[in-house]
C-alpha cells in the first residue's frame, strides 16, 4: 500500500481508471453488436502497427492507430455488406496480423524488451504523453456516447432497422469501429497487445449479464473496467505479478461472478 505514495503508481492508477472507462464503453458496442471478431482483429492489427513503429523508430501510437484504422477500413465494408463470415475471416486476419507482429519483432534492430512491453503491457512505465492521449480518448468516447445515445442505441438494436428509420447507420457503425481502434491503440501500452481485448470484452460481457438497460450497461461496464484495472494493479504490486495480465485476470473473475449471479440466466432457465 505504500506504493500509493509514489508518482509512477499514482499515474498507473489514473491510467487504469482511464483504460477501464474507455474499454468499458467500447466493450458495450462490441458485445451488444456481436462484432467481437472485428475487435480481435483490430487489437492485433494495432499491436502489429505498434511493433512496426518500433522497427522504424517512429511513433508507436501513430502506427498502432494507422494499422487499426486500416483493419477497420477492410473489415467494416465486409461486415456491413454481410459478406464476412466470422469463422473464416477471423482465422485469416488474426493469423496474418499476428504473423506481421512477430515478423516486425524478429527484425527489431535493438533489444526485444520494448516489444515485450507492448505484448504484455507496462502500465507502471506509462508516460505523461500516453496519459494525455488516454484522456482525449475517454473524453471523446463519453461525448459520443451521450450526444449520439439514441443513434447508437438504434444501431445496436439492429442496423437495418436503424437505416429504415432514417438514421445514417453505416456512418455510426464506422464511428464505432474507428473509436474502437483508437481505444485499443491508446490502451495498448498499458494493458498490452495480447490482453487489451480481454479488457474490452470482459467488463462489457459481465455488464451484459446483469442489466436490460443500455444506460446501466454503460455504467456497469465502465465500473467493471475500472475495478479490473485497479484490482489488477494492486494484485500485481502485492504479489509482484505482471500488471496487464493481473488486470485481465480480475476482469475474468468479475465476468465469472456476473454469469453465476446473472438475473438473465434465471429468466432464461425459467
Amino acid at each position: 500500500m505504500e506504493l500509493i505514495g509514489f508518482a509512477f503508481f499514482q499515474r498507473a492508477l489514473f491510467s487504469a481508471l482511464l483504460a477501464g472507462i474507455a474499454c468499458g464503453i467500447v466493450g458495450v458496442w462490441i458485445v451488444t453488436m456481436r462484432i467481437s471478431f472485428i475487435g480481435v482483429a483490430i487489437s492485433h492489427a494495432a499491436f502489429a502497427g505498434a511493433l512496426l513503429g518500433l522497427v522504424l523508430g517512429k511513433s508507436v501510437i501513430f502506427f498502432s492507430f494507422l494499422f487499426s484504422f486500416l483493419a477497420c477500413a477492410v473489415l467494416g465494408p465486409l461486415s456491413d455488406k454481410g459478406q464476412l463470415h466470422p469463422d473464416t475471416s477471423i482465422g485469416i486476419i488474426f493469423s496474418s496480423t499476428v504473423g506481421l507482429a512477430f515478423l516486425f519483432m524478429g527484425v527489431l534492430p535493438e533489444g526485444k524488451s520494448q516489444a515485450l512491453n507492448l505484448l504484455w503491457g507496462s502500465i507502471l512505465t506509462i508516460t505523461h504523453q500516453d496519459t494525455i492521449l488516454l484522456v482525449i480518448t475517454v473524453a471523446l468516447l463519453i461525448i459520443v456516447s451521450i450526444l449520439f445515445f439514441k443513434e447508437l442505441q438504434s444501431v445496436i438494436f439492429n442496423r437495418e432497422m436503424a437505416k429504415a428509420s432514417g438514421i445514417s447507420a453505416t456512418i455510426f457503425f464506422y464511428l464505432i469501429l474507428f473509436l474502437s481502434g483508437m481505444t485499443i491503440s491508446t490502451t495498448l501500452k498499458s494493458v498490452g497487445g495480447l490482453l487489451v481485448f480481454a479488457l474490452v470484452i470482459n467488463p462489457a460481457a459481465a455488464a451484459y449479464q446483469i442489466t436490460y438497460s443500455l444506460k446501466k450497461m454503460y455504467l456497469l461496464s465502465t465500473l467493471f473496467g475500472v475495478l479490473s484495472g485497479w484490482g489488477g494493479l494492486f494484485l500485481a504490486a502485492q504479489f509482484n505479478l505482471p500488471a496487464g495480465a493481473s488486470i485481465v485476470i480480475v476482469s475474468t473473475v468479475i465476468f465469472i461472478f456476473s454469469v453465476l449471479f446473472s438475473p438473465k440466466r434465471v429468466n432464461n432457465e425459467n
Binding site: 438504434s154 438494436f157 436503424a162 428509420s165 432514417g166 438514421i167 436490460y212 446501466k216 429468466n267
Partner: protein, 241 residues
C-alpha cells in the same frame, strides 16, 4: 388526378450474384392500399426493401413524390416510411426495452443532437395505447413473444407518423383477436391520414379485406395488377388450371 407517391421504372433488384426482381415498373398513388401477393421467393419482400433502400436497385429508377430516391436523399424519405419486417430475430438478452424500440421509430425524424420532445412522447403514448401495448413497454424487447414483438414493431413504424407504410406479413404470430384489432387500426389510420400502404401477405382473406388493389408477383415480375374483384377471378382461374 391522383398524385403518384411511388414510381418504379424498370427496376431490377439483386443480392450478390442473384437477381430477384426483373425490370419491374409500376406506380402507386398517394393514399392507395396495395396488397402484394405471390408464392415464396416471388420477390415481394425484396420489393419492399427496394422501396426503402435496404435492398440495392441494380437497374432502373425509384421515385418517391416524383423525386429519384438515391443515397443523398434516402434518409429524408426513410423518415416518412414506416417499415415492419417479416422476420425479426434478436438476442433475448439485448439490453433494450420495448418502449425504447417503439421510440426508435421516431429517432430519425427527431434528428441528430436532439432528444424526443414532449409532443413526440405524447404521440408515442397515443400509438402504444392504440395497439394496446402499454403493459409491454417496460419489458425487455428480447423477452417478448413473437406476437408481442410484432405489435411493438408495428407501433415503432406508426410513431413516425408515416406517409408510406411498408408491411411485411405483419399478421404472422398475431392471434385472431389481435389480427382483427390491427386490421381495424390500420384501416382507420390509413383512411384518416391517407397513408400510401404496401402490404405483403399470404393470407387471401386479409388481402381481400384491406387492399383495394393487388399486385400478384411471380419470379420477380408482376403476374397480375388490378382491383380486388379481378384478383379473385384471376385466383380462381389459376386454381382451376
Amino acid at each position: 388526378m391522383k398524385n403518384i407517391k411511388i414510381k418504379l421504372n424498370n427496376v431490377s433488384v439483386g443480392y450478390l450474384t442473384e437477381t430477384v426482381i426483373h425490370g419491374l415498373s409500376t406506380e402507386i398513388a398517394e393514399g392507395e392500399f396495395v396488397g402484394l401477393f405471390g408464392p415464396n421467393g416471388a420477390g415481394k419482400t425484396t420489393l419492399l426493401c427496394a422501396i426503402n433502400g435496404l435492398a440495392q436497385i441494380t437497374e432502373g429508377n425509384l421515385y418517391i413524390d416524383n423525386t429519384e430516391f438515391n443515397i443523398f436523399n434516402e434518409n429524408k424519405f426513410r423518415r416518412v416510411m414506416g417499415y415492419v419486417p417479416q422476420r425479426f430475430d434478436i438476442d433475448p438478452k439485448i439490453p433494450i426495452l420495448a418502449e425504447e424500440v417503439v421510440s426508435m421509430g421516431r429517432y430519425g425524424k427527431t434528428g441528430l443532437l436532439r432528444f424526443p420532445s414532449t409532443k413526440d412522447k405524447d404521440f408515442i403514448t397515443e400509438v402504444c395505447a392504440l395497439l394496446e401495448i402499454q403493459y409491454l413497454l417496460k419489458k425487455p424487447f428480447g423477452q417478448l413473444s413473437g406476437g408481442e414483438r410484432k405489435r411493438v414493431l408495428i407501433a415503432r413504424a406508426l410513431v413516425k407518423d408515416p406517409e408510406i407504410m411498408l408491411f411485411d406479413e405483419i399478421f404472422a404470430w398475431l392471434d385472431v383477436k389481435m389480427i382483427d384489432r390491427v386490421i381495424a387500426i390500420i384501416r382507420e389510420i390509413q383512411i384518416k391520414k391517407r397513408i400510401t400502404t404496401l402490404m405483403v401477405s399470404h393470407d387471401i382473406e386479409i388481402i381481400k379485406t384491406l387492399c383495394a388493389r393487388i399486385i400478384w408477383m411471380e419470379d420477380g415480375k408482376i403476374f397480375f395488377d388490378g382491383d380486388r374483384e379481378n384478383f379473385l377471378k384471376k385466383l380462381k382461374a389459376k386454381q382451376w388450371n
